[in-house]
């Protein structure tokens, strides 16, 4: 399997790193080589955060080269434009607008909803990604996030 490059972007506190951790775990459990990295020095104070996940048979650098992301998942509208140069020509952008905010019972599960959208596209078993969501979150938050994930999945199926 060639290397798949995914970049998550947003602001501190939105769960960018959580989302990338979940995807990386799912790829790891699928038996693939995985690397992920981000700069999160000041992220908790609301600054921009991006996190790179790469998986395939063999991954070298932990960073997605600029202009080579196959998927760019953005959690905050203001961060779409600035991060577009990361995407390769023909790459897929998942921006927050595809999830109508009133459809999420908690807007903090936007990261997981977008993972749901991604799950049908990225070449990993969607149920394995959902299993990684379950593992990454405390039990009390799981139901809300499972619903967000399934909602994202439906959106992807509807195209």
């Amino acid at each position: 399997m060639r290397v798949t490059n995914v970049v998550f972007a947003g602001l501190g506190g939105q769960g960018v790193i959580k989302a990338s951790d979940i995807l990386a775990q799912a790829a790891f459990r699928a038996g693939l080589d995985v690397k992920k990295s981000e700069l999160h020095g000041m992220s908790q104070r609301g600054g921009s955060v991006t996190s790179d996940v790469r998986f395939g048979d063999r991954v070298y650098s932990p960073m997605v080269p600029q202009g080579e992301a196959d998927y760019l998942i953005v959690l905050e509208p203001s961060q779409v434009e600035v991060n577009l140069p990361l995407l390769r020509p023909g790459g897929v952008l998942l921006s927050p607008e595809i999830i109508p905010p009133d459809r999420l019972s908690n807007k903090r599960s936007l990261n997981v909803a977008l993972l749901g959208v991604l799950s049908g596209l990225v070449g990993l078993d969607p149920d394995a990604i959902l299993a990684a969501v379950r593992q990454a979150l405390p039990e009390r938050l799981y139901q809300i996030n499972e619903r967000a994930f399934e909602f994202g999945r439906e959106i992807a199926e509807r195209g």
């Binding site: 990295s37 700069l39 908790q44 104070r45 600054g47 921009s48 955060v49 991954v59 650098s61 932990p62």
Partner: protein, 544 residues
Amino acid sequence: MDRRLCSGDEAVALAACDAGVCLGTGYPGTPSTEILEAFDALGGRAQWAPNEKVALEVGLGVAFANARSLVTMKHVGLNVAADPLFTAAYTGVTGALIVVTADDPGMASSQNEQDNRRYAVAAGLPMIEPADAQEAYDFVFRAIEISERWSIPVLFRMTTRVCHAKSIVTRDPSAAPATQKAYFEHDRSARVMIPANAKPAHRRLRAKLAGLRDWAEQDAFDAGLNQFVPGRSDLGLVTSGVAHLHALEAAPDASFLKLGLVHPLALDRVRAFAASVDRCVVIEEGDPVLAEALRAHDVAVTAKPERYRFGELDVARVRRILAGETAAEPAPPRGKPPALCPACPYHPVYRVLRDLDCIVAGDIGCYSLGVLPPYETFDTLVAMGAALGVGLGLRHALPEAEARRVVSVIGDSTFVHSGITGLVEMTYNPPPTGHVVLVLDNQTTAMTGQQEHPATGRRLNHTPTTRFSIEGVARAIGIDQVAVIDPVADEGGFAALLRERLAANDLSVIVARRPCILAAAGIRRWQAQASGPAGTAPAPGVSV
């Protein structure tokens, strides 16, 4: 086999656990902080020291007792620990002393991007550099073996992308060197560095390094520290650290000589490698340390162009280096800068500093964000603890009207780290207008992710211990006016107090005490768990 996805920091902690490291100590600093936190979570004995110098000294004591110690810090922390480090190179150790220096090329969260490979050369210590989490795990074992075999401290250099990047690690405790019991044996000529002992000790150190240099040529390859990867004969790349992985991706069929032991260098092997290829380029992040060292020994290698000294490398930049690309690089995406949390207790402090038009000698921490709009109150930021000295210098030099506006602003963890001697200077050489020091006591080390420190009264694992009293120390040092106030509950009182102290000729310390909003819930939980009053800082207002 235990296989897991983990960061380089966690991998170091895993290895420390598997190798029976007796004690891990350090001072928080991105990107090194998670090592000791993970070591603690794994059941290791991990503790925060007040600063890196103390941490290194504690680690050295452990290693004098024939046990293994791990000391962690960010790159600038090694500046603080440099004094004992250089002489520990002379004394050597009987157990193992592994000093992790986590460099931050690109300055994701640092005040400079110094390249600590220079310290290995300057102090005369072996330095090991992993490229990813698996190597971080494996190389800790090699570092311990070298430290014990040559009785020498070992520098373990990581960088942001090695510390924080996650990759797959296979854990193999059976590969860890066997541990020995701690014991003490007098060895005064080796450990008491009066000149008569230090002179032969310096020669011993150089002899050890000569032995290590020989070892680097073949054994370091057998041990997996240095690696030769045959490939094309027209392009050879000498690499180290994460730059190796970028280079592998940029030029997968080149020949590689990857150095995991970056000091001392396997000079003969690199020389032969360079001679075996048409073109030999050194791909390294930061300063051209390897290229300079190799060229000084007439090894024919090409260094990267000067512009790549700045910032991190990545695959695209390595491609540009190899292609000799001279056009300007595309600008990285411009993100939104961080800001103080909306409910941060520092907001009223910065409002008051701005309204009083203070000249602020600042320091490093979350509170440094006061330099950004809407406050723009910070006038200087240099190194931890520098707020005090710089503020005093400004007071000494400025005309009275301006001198009176100078305030030194420092956080609680930073105060304990290196503010105390500044207070001593303040009472020893007081400026004619006096001085005002504002300690922003949010009862945590917020900047690096809410670590405990001596003035929180809790250890690394949040259990209670003796609380260091900032106000008590200020009084004991002889500061005229010491006050504790909650700037959120009483912003007007805080403004009035600061105005009054700026107008007086006294030496004043004002402790603005109010917990960090992100840490507050944790602090309440740890306090509830603690039995008895230890670990609780006195509420503001009781001790003005």
